[in-house]
Amino acid sequence: MSTALLGLSRYLLAILMAFYTFHCFMPFAYGSEKERGGFYIFQIVFLMLIHILGFTVLYFRTDDPRCVYYGALQSVLFIGTIVIFHIVYPSGSPMIVNNTCMFLAIGFIMLMRLSEGKSLRQFLIAAVSVCISMAVPYLVSDLRLLSKVTWVYGFAGVAALSAVLVAGAVTNGSKLSYSIAGITFQPSEFVKIIFVLFLAGILTDVNQKRAKGEDWLLYFAGAVGLGFAHILILALSRDLGGALILFVIMVFMVYAALNNPLVLGAGAFGAVAGALLGYRLFSHVRTRFLAWREPFSYIDGQGYQITQSLFAIGTGSWFGMGLYMGSPDKIPVVEQDFIFSAVSEEMGCIFSVCLILVCLSTFLLFMNLAMAVHQTYYRLVVLGIAINYIFQVFLTVGGVTKFIPLTGVTLPLVSYGGSSVLATLIMFSIVQGIYLIKAESDARAEVRHAK
């Protein structure tokens, strides 16, 4: 029985994931949340089946009873999160919660396979983060906590990043983190949030000034300057991925606010100029570029990570080697930057393509909300978060598949890392809060309409 399950598990996982993915896109075809309810139920069913199947396979392969304990506790966390969220925030988005649990579940399975200790840490961090972020929608929608402390956000971001640059620990050649009381923080993860809030506030002001015919250019230029300060500090800290993400967020948010295609042209120009300048100035940029162009020529050095990743993905092929049947541990920093390769190797490329599609469905959901919200400020916040999320997915998946050069960013909620999990959960919860605000104003509009 267990042999048969182990033999079939990789096909079952791929099929279940395909079904889950299907149910992530079906809701878009239906207008009302009522009609969509059924899909959400199916999502939960497939989510739980994947999680339980994953941990059952891990248990059969290792005979480690902790697989059972962790698996059970995590199931409780998922069900608890889904149920409590639904009760507390009935007008929030159930699909965002389901997808959050799905990403966490895939991360838990893969981390348990790679390192029991990291899996446990990730679980504890996720549990605490879920509790913290449970309050965020309330803070956003009822207390309107995101009101415009815009410039403060901007200066706080620059200060936090500068502190890391000056005093931070050196990890993997990039100065990304510092430790307080044994817990390592990666401030750039949180700076991304306040960066979005900062820009949304400024750009809302800019639009108001424009509407009133006031002079807005100087104000706008100051904000853009402060935005570039963030990016520059990150680039100096060698966090190229982070710098690139903030740049893309800024370009698209400014474009959306000013509604001027010239912004996109300037952004494209800036990206090319920045890339050329980085290539000229920094040897680590050149190294990354070479490792991307000809990884097999530098297989002993700079190309090692990416070639191991390509071996993992290629050897796993469509259905994967099966959990514990591959060698994902041969890829350096597999739990963080290369988790996608590990998933591909052991659970297969059908599974991992589905994973990308689930990420895309989350992005679509965010964009739908951004278009539906009336207040400029909230539209921009949701847009910024959406771009932050999907561009990070693009950088990590594109990097490990050699579609683009490696930038060393994590796959949100799937990769190991406390700061990243907490920051992503907070961002998703801010979006939930804006769902609530939208529901409220829709309801008011209906009442007005009824009158």
Partner: protein, 468 residues
Amino acid sequence: MRNKHVFYVILSFFMVIFTAMIGYFVWYVQFNAPKAINSSYNMRQNDLERQVIRGTIFSAKGEILAEEAMNSQNVEVRYYPYNELFAHAVGFSTHGKTGVESAANIELLTSNAPIGERLQKEMDGLRNYGDNIYTTYDADLQKAAYDALGVYKGAVIAMEPKTGKILAMVSKPDYDPNTVSENWAAISSDTDNSPLVNRATQGLYPPGSTFKIVTLLEYIREHPDDYENYSYTCKGKMNYDGVDIECYHRSVHGSEDLRESFEKSCNCSFANIGTLLGIKKFSGTAGDLLFGKTIPTDLAYSKSSFVLDEESGSEEILQTAMGQGKTLITPLHMALITSAIANDGILMRPYEIEKRTNYLGELISETEPKKYKTLMTEKEAEILTDFMVGVVENGTGKRLKGLSYSVAGKTGSAEYGTIKGNSHAWFTGFSNVEDPELVVTVIMEGAGSGGDYAVPVAKRVFDAYYKR
């Protein structure tokens, strides 16, 4: 800002980059991965071996060259029924991987058994049967080449110029692939004989007089209309710019034209030609013939080298023109140049893997003969063929004259080391000149002259081919 189109622009942007990325990913997994993962740096091949029983390697006619078998202790081992015969051609998979075992490694470890059977085996926790590989090797021809080479170190390659199929590839000294793992220490430390080196593809030798094919081609390229007017008087030795050149065994060839110089392989005359050539163009022609370039093969090979440039001194130029100097070439490369001459100047991509089937024999994929590059014009190939026929009719390849098949070729006696008279025996040529069928290239280390030693070996291979 109620303008939704802004959001649609942003949405489209991300949809486009994600579609491109997923497309790239899927393309990689389906088409590029099987090649990419066949690297000695990919330690995951052992993971595959735990799930799949390595497939069988066959000769073109279906003789088993390598298979999984049980030894007397009932342990699964890789069995090579022909022992040393295919040591380098098929290679081994027990201590690293070489030969076909390396080139088709992933295919041998991938099962295309019927899907129902595969699922059943996976459910039962059993390994599936990997795919089988049919090579282009002809066991009879391989045996003939192996026996003909005898006790000499060296290599023999036989291939079809029109398809690029390698029919036989022998390298000596060799080893028994059945016991290579047990005897690894002794085999790998034997630097005098280097039995692990596949001399056919990795052995770099001075080409000796076989290189005169290249010098001849260059002279014809520089004198397309009047090369037939070339004349030279050989006195057995010559001096140019303080450089002494001697003909093999100081033979005095007397008054000769270009054709006679080539047929008799006159060193003095070719050194003289060297003084007449444009060095830059010469280097270009060598490049056209793939010196210093990559060779289209999935076997491990060394790159041949041709080092002349405009700075080179007279000594180097003269030596290079007659085939000594610093020029180095592999027997495979020599066979490819010969194939191109035989095939109207067109080099076909050489291959040794004919097809891949599942373990039940159902075809999975097949190698189609493919043109790699045009190395020379049809006219040039025709002239070289004509000259090479002369070598057999009137010159150093006389032992191949008057047989049931016609041969065009070139011999070589490549001097090496510092002791005068020590030379590697070379022959490269093809049979059935009107409609070329088989290219044979022979190198015998330290044997003596090409005409006396390498030509008889080639003859035995040709004989075996036409006796089939």
